[in-house]
């Protein structure tokens, strides 16, 4: 099978170019977090310093934005895990009309532009007379986070098949025992991976959040405010680097956990 020959030079260069295009901007953020400048983005940076990290640590507005983001991501992930798991089970085990529609239903919130979800939720909240709160942010995030759990779990269920469940039932286990001792161990890592992706997705979501947060500021909303009215450029660079790190780690872990599901 190892009959891969060498790629034409032009193709290799184009591929390398695409990878650089995707990653140089993120590396630049890492570099600018250390720049000594506080009002411009001169390249190369005139000098390097770590003082902005200390300054960012002392900002109370950042800490409260971070804690809100973490709380929202935690609750959204937990709810997405439950809902995604239930939907994946139903679609995998059941035979019913409209089964394909469920998959479509789950994917749609992430395929349609976030602004549709955002404004729809906002006007629905208004109609029902509900005020913006922590829960309205979670409400929005769960709609587009379910898909990550659903996709990962259903891919794992398809890979393992139904026979181990039947074997467990034949040996006398009831539905709950089978779930706890047979199904859960097989899907655990897929579930975890889906949850991690949901966490990353929720942690840095900004479009839907602008419609459902009211006056509350999550970390991405804080960055968004800096985009339109840059006041704390060096601190923003530090925050940006932090967001990259905190969303990258779960994605890498999720990849490790579900490698074998990739066919």
């Amino acid at each position: 099978m190892r009959s891969k020959n060498r790629a034409p030079l032009g193709l290799s260069l184009a591929a390398i170019g695409a990878i650089l295009f995707l990653h140089i901007p993120l590396l630049l953020i890492g570099l600018y977090a250390f720049t000594t400048e506080d009002a411009a983005f001169t390249f190369p940076p005139p000098g390097l310093t770590v003082k902005w990290f200390a300054e960012a640590m002392q900002r109370t507005d950042l800490w409260s934005a971070l804690s809100l983001s973490l709380k929202v991501a935690a609750f959204s992930t937990a709810l997405s895990l439950l809902l995604g798991l239930l939907a994946a089970f139903a679609v995998h085990h059941g035979k019913f009309i409209g089964k394909e529609a469920i998959t479509f239903l789950v994917i749609l919130p992430i395929a349609l532009p976030g602004i549709v979800t955002g404004i729809a939720l906002r006007s629905a909240l208004k109609i029902m007379g509900l005020d913006f709160s922590f829960w309205t942010i979670v409400l929005g995030h769960v709609t587009f986070c379910i898909v990550t759990v659903y996709n990962n779990v259903i891919a794992r269920l398809r890979r393992t098949g139904f026979s181990i469940v039947e074997a467990s039932m034949d040996l006398g286990a009831d539905t709950f025992q089978t779930f706890r001792h047979v199904i859960l161990p097989t899907i655990a890592s897929a579930l975890l991976a889906g949850g991690m992706l949901a966490f990353s997705l929720s942690f840095d979501e900004v479009i839907v959040t602008t419609f459902t947060a009211g006056q509350q500021a999550t970390l991405p909303i804080w960055i968004l405010a800096q985009l339109s009215r840059p006041r704390d450029r060096p601190v923003t660079n530090v925050v940006a680097l932090f967001v990259i790190l905190i969303t990258t780690v779960p994605i890498l872990l999720a990849y490790q956990l579900t490698k074998q599901d990739e066919v």
Binding site: G84, I102, L105, A124
Partner: protein
Amino acid sequence: MAVAAAAPNPRPASAARKLSRYFHGHPRFSIFLLLSLPLLWLGMVYFGSVGALILQSFFHYDGFSGKVINQFTLENYGELFSPSNVDIVIRTTAMAAAVTLASIVIAFPLAYFSVRYASGRLKALLYLAVILPLWSSYIVRVYSWKLILAKEGIISWFLAHLGLTGLLDKVLQLPAIGGPSLSMSMLGMWMVFIYIWLPYMILPIHSSLERLPKSVLEASADLGARPGQTFRRVTLPLVLPGVVAGSIFTFSLTLGDFIIPGTIGNSSLFIGQAVLRYQGTAGNIPLAAAITVVPMAVMAVYLLVARNLGAFDAL
């Protein structure tokens, strides 16, 4: 094995076991139970809100009192065809098309390289390099281009070292795509859009190339086709569903974005910004709703075409 050990134990039926038996005997009820929560959430919260939004696009907005009156009207859709709104729709759709085309051009070689010439660790690395930006840090990735496109930033530095500053100035003087600086031009905005949505194009193309059997390509070569001919007449048509699947994302996501046009580019409005403006300060939800129906309708048509091309299998 805990399960096996528990089995031969003839104990009286516990509540869990009774319930379990009931589920087993009533599969329809079990499925209903499993689906009820997800459906309640997605069906009621999501589709309920989107449905209510579409409904409101047919309501009358009283400009004087700033109130929405529940009275059927098509005036919001009429408003869509006012010159300024048509302008916005055309500008946004043109940008979405330009972004989609450029993404295909950049994504294809990378996907092709990864499937045909990379294996083992390199392939895994390339895959990771694509999914990382796909799942993470949208807002941070937009922000990074503020640094890149800045007048004193890396692009200007790079071009100055190549002696091409004059060329950049000439390009920026062009009408429509130019502007006072890269970060205030349509050209700059186009680059940012491509950067942000590119991974959504790479993955579907990658997976449809992956599914293309090698034997088909060998058959084509055996029948005397040159590599270029095989690529054009065999590879491309078979990978088309993947390309279409990718463009569903790049197109749709560009149509609805309001953060990139608000950050990079000049002050001309895009669909997302218009929606934000109408629903925000004016409280004109009906008109905002009618405008969001545009990306929804464009996507509906796109999805129908895509389904006929078999793009859903490539998702």
